[in-house]
Symmetry: C2
Subunit: 635 residues, 2 copies
């Protein structure tokens, strides 16, 4: 028997600020967390005392062990304030582990540093349900996002440099530089070049045997500068990089080009990290990422540029999930955090795989899907689970009385502004009108054949009558269970009923299915999601979208799953339409593709891919206490 | 007695490639290296098995211990191929530690990732004198450069966002956002705002007491967009970012501005990291970095923007040096790597401080100064030692027969092209004509009152007559010792004679002095360096330089030391002038200031601050061996 003791919470009322709770907590050494989680010390790379990378060799060691139960936490259509999915994920795991003594793992996303210093603040849960140390979680962690930035921008630099070099050199000059003659007169292809040769249908492996025509097709990627889709990235909220012109230095001045930076978590490399199932799979995905199109319309890949191997080397540590802990000492795997609109918004497959093996037959893995269930959960099932082959057992859907009242017609909810009285005192009328949004999401989740458990995330101003109303309705439309939880104020103890409901729901044999088969056309797949999940009457394609659908179909990419880039603030494409909008047409403005990650992403409306800073960013309060060395002011 | 055993080298002939030697080596666990180095386990944060951050608390624990001997490794004016300063630094330490059984530390710079994937390849020494694991050393290490990138770019984003917000809001709107009214009606200044108030001479601490005029001067930084000197950075060789226009997004389009990216190691934050003497000192330096000038000519600082604390938080782990090891198991502290032209090109003061305490009275710390002795060593003495107050004992100057022949009139040496026969066979005439460059550097180093030891870094083609010629002449002009070393081929064993010479030279009481006092004018300081060290007849100032000298003098920055931004390929400003140029005028094109780091840097000629990628970058060969997980192709 293990002598492991879950740390006890010292609950205070009123609940202190997140950082005060987090700084008062004394984390266990991560080596203790690892050992209790069944991770061997040689499978662990410590990063300081409270974070550690977990080696993928765990998967080999436990290949024959059955997986644990697989639980996804999702939510109703939220207010701009968020309804507590992360907090519920952590609270549920604290309950399952520290209170029900089950073996349990939380799998969560690494947050972008941009919002930490911008508007939103940190993202490690809240109240008495948090990942600690919260400053480690919200800052560099173990460097994965920095590795993505480095890899993304190496590829970007290589693209423009290649365009420049091709424009100033003859075929022969290019070939002599790409395959230089060695001192002994020999010349060879770098291994990555064989991939390009294979793509061109050239099976020769001796450079000297290539015909002039073959040399030309080998050395000339002939990238159309106006069709480069690969952007540079930074993990910073820098709105002035949303539209830029590059190449205005003296030596490059003939080659100016309009482009933009995205936030690092919007990089396709982040989506690749999240969807890779092994190191070898990540290497292949990184190499086949498409960065643009040649003047003849051929997609150009990272391996065509020669960079697939180098990108993999830059990502070799990032592929290992980071082990941390909750306030009650249960293990957390933090790994990947792709944008939830232009990407799929879910933490990594690899972390889930590792956690499911470590959990074993009697254990539980709770993973969070970004945004509301129409986006995050649909992508979890149709993209992430399809790539991994893993079968989810239960979907927990987080709801709040506040958000349901908004859906019932309550006044607009705005971050930073005080909440209207309708939200802070009993109002059964608004609430009753708004429960439809929850019921629609429950019905949607049912289409995937998983058991649905509703977690009503309690706020102190919620009345018992309000709570009863929601729980009753949810049960009536087929939720397996529907429970109130109060883990923000009480930690795991506040989610014990939820945990019991999840355990019970996991006892049902899953009947999991995808919403659509991959062999439908791109349009058929889009329409299935729009009608079945969003409730749209039909879909409208703008000319740019039509053009891209034709292009991707011609290029052979039509069998990929669909990753809708839609607002999370409405089931429709209009963030102002609350509740369950009906009779609307879903407009597809443009369609893009992440070929390495492996999905097509239709743009429903305009998506900002790099946030900005407000007049008074969070950073004004952030500093180090020079006496204690502790971080202060992080929210 | 410790049971520690230095790993034995298995020397091969011919010497294998750097990566082959490095991958064949089995590093000791870094916890063993730490323990042997006298670092307690609670002063160590492991980053995997072979890297660890060392806490600054070592300095408190050992405050009363005497420092070790302080040795700086510098070089003659090099060829573009480099003459082996890093390799000599490592080889000398392997000799002192593994062979002479002295307590010894190498303090080296962290390399930029740009060149690793670009032209130059890695930078961990070479042959049998290397820091291992070399792929860790050359890639993310412990994330310090990534932290610098994040901090630098947060400040950059904040500058442009602030200009935008000031342009669209009244004084009152700005004030209401910067100091919002809380629920209870109170309002307060964030602590960092008190710094700006103090600068403005406002001693009030209650926002409601400020007059309208005070509010206006508080909220309006009034930055002149054309006078912003703070650039964004990436640790990538991306030449297309040398000249860019930002702010062309739809919502920012009125605020376009021309700017550029630099390589991350050129960030002033890197120079701050290298020159900080404690966490509190780093906090002050980061806050006082000047990012530009207001329309009224007032310097605007990072603390004016409100970001000094947040930058410190982003840099809180980066301030700890990273412990690694040489091929023979001696400890290495890797920390900071500021650009050697626009900054001072030396590793950190903090690493040297820690190493000197750990070494103790009988021990040795060997630190490397970038570029030739006219630049790296002069800045080591006049900037780094002045900031730290540390007294150097010995300067080792690395010379090669190859470089001396170049100075004697040998044919041009170009990276990538085969070496002329003059360099690979005996040529006493060229060599004799070229030794002047070495003698000038020896004489320069003597001006600082340190003992000089010449290390002639042997190449296999050097003849005994050539070696004798150099060693004899060096001795004759006052070098304490002058020895041939062969650590590249033999590891520490090849540098034992050098190590003995260094030990002997360290027994002399140092008579250290700076080249110039700080209270000279900017021009007097520039002229002292130009005449005494470079051998210039006089200095010429272009109008932009005159203007800036007047500005910085008026702003009160004239008492800072000078950090010359000059080519390292000649003692003069013309890289083509080899040997010891005479009768030249040193042109100062422009003058800039790093107020946080604490130096003025005159630009002698044009400096590229972000390299580019060649047609065939190093990354073509870099990949992961998917069977072993090892990095391949890193050079």
């Amino acid at each position: 028997m293990s002598t492991f003791q879950y740390p006890k919470l010292d609950l205070k009322t009123p609940v202190p600020s997140d950082i005060d709770i987090a700084s008062d907590a004394v984390p266990l050494p991560v080596s203790v967390i690892a050992s209790e989680a069944g991770i061997n010390q040689d499978e662990l790379d410590l990063y300081g005392k409270y974070k550690a990378k977990v080696h993928l060799s765990v998967l080999d060691r436990l290949a024959d062990r059955p997986n644990g139960k697989y639980v996804v936490v999702t939510g109703i259509t939220p207010t701009p304030l968020g309804e507590g999915k992360s907090t519920t994920t952590i609270g549920l795991c604290q309950a399952l582990g520290a209170h029900l003594k089950k073996r349990v793992f939380s799998c969560v996303r690494q947050p972008s540093q941009g919002p930490t210093f911008g508007i939103k603040g940190g993202a490690a849960g809240g109240g008495y349900s948090q990942v600690i140390p919260m400053e480690e979680f919200n800052l560099h962690l173990t460097g994965d996002i920095h590795a993505i930035t480095a890899a993304n921008n190496l590829l970007a630099a290589a693209i423009d440099a290649r365009i420049l070099h091709e424009s100033t050199q003859t075929d022969e000059q290019l070939f002599n530089r790409l395959c230089p003659v060695a001192k002994d007169g020999s010349r060879r292809f770098a291994p990555v070049m064989l991939r390009r040769l294979a793509k061109l249908g050239i099976s020769k492996t001796d450079p000297s045997e290539l015909s002039a025509e073959e040399v030309s097709s080998f050395v000339r990627l002939d990238i159309d500068p106006s069709l480069v889709t690969w952007n540079r990235v930074l993990d910073t909220n820098d709105r002035f990089l949303r539209g830029i012109t590059i190449g205005q230095g003296k030596e490059e001045a003939r080659f100016t080009r309009s482009t933009q930076f995205d936030i690092a978590v919007a990089s396709e490399i982040m989506a690749v990290l999240a969807l890779a199932t092994s190191l070898a799979d990540m290497r292949e995905r990184l190499g086949r990422m498409v960065i643009g199109t040649s003047r003849k319309g051929v997609p150009v890949s990272a391996d065509d540029i020669g960079a697939g191997g180098a990108l993999t080397v830059l990502m070799k540590d990032a592929i290992m999930p980071t082990l941390m802990q909750t306030l009650e000492g249960t293990p957390v795997l933090v790994h990947a955090g792709p944008f939830a609109n232009i990407a799929h918004g879910n933490s990594s497959i690899i972390a889930d795989q590792i956690a499911l093996k470590l959990a074993g037959a009697d254990g539980y893995v709770v993973t969070e899907a970004g945004f509301g269930a129409d986006i995050g959960a649909e992508k979890f099932f149709d993209i992430k689970c399809r790539e991994s082959g893993l079968i989810p057992n239960v979907a927990v859907i987080v709801a709040t009385i506040r958000a349901l009242k908004m859906h019932g017609g309550g006044p607009k909810v705005t971050a930073g502004a005080p909440l209207d009285k309708a939200y802070t005192s009993e109002n059964l009328e608004l609430l009753s009108a708004g429960t439809d949004n929850l019921l629609k999401h429950i019905s949607n989740l049912g289409k995937f054949g998983v058991q649905v458990v509703v977690a009503l995330n309690r706020f102190s101003s919620d009345s018992n009558a309000e709570i009863e109303l929601v729980l009753g309705r949810a049960k009536a439309v087929g939720a397996r269970a529907s429970v109130m939880c109060n883990h923000w104020a009480e930690g795991g103890q506040g989610a014990v009923e939820l945990a019991n409901a999840v355990v019970e729901a996991c006892s049902v044999e899953p009947n999991f299915k995808y919403l659509y088969p991959l062999d439908l056309s791109i349009k058929e797949k889009i329409e299935t999601i729009a009608k079945e999940i969003y409730g749209a009457d039909s879909v409208e394609y703008l000319p740019e979208a039509e053009k891209k659908i034709a292009l991707y179909t011609e290029q052979g990419f039509s069998k990929l799953p669909i990753c809708m880039a839609k607002t999370h603030l409405s089931l429709s494409s209009d963030p102002e339409k609350k509740g369950v909008p009906k009779g609307f047409v879903l407009p597809i403005r443009d369609v893009r593709a992440s070929i390495g990650a492996g999905f097509i992403y239709p743009l429903v409306g305009t998506m900002s891919t790099i946030p900005g800073l407000p007049t008074r960013p969070c950073f004004y309060e952030i500093d180090i206490d020079l006496k204690t060395g502790k971080v202060i002011g992080l929210s």
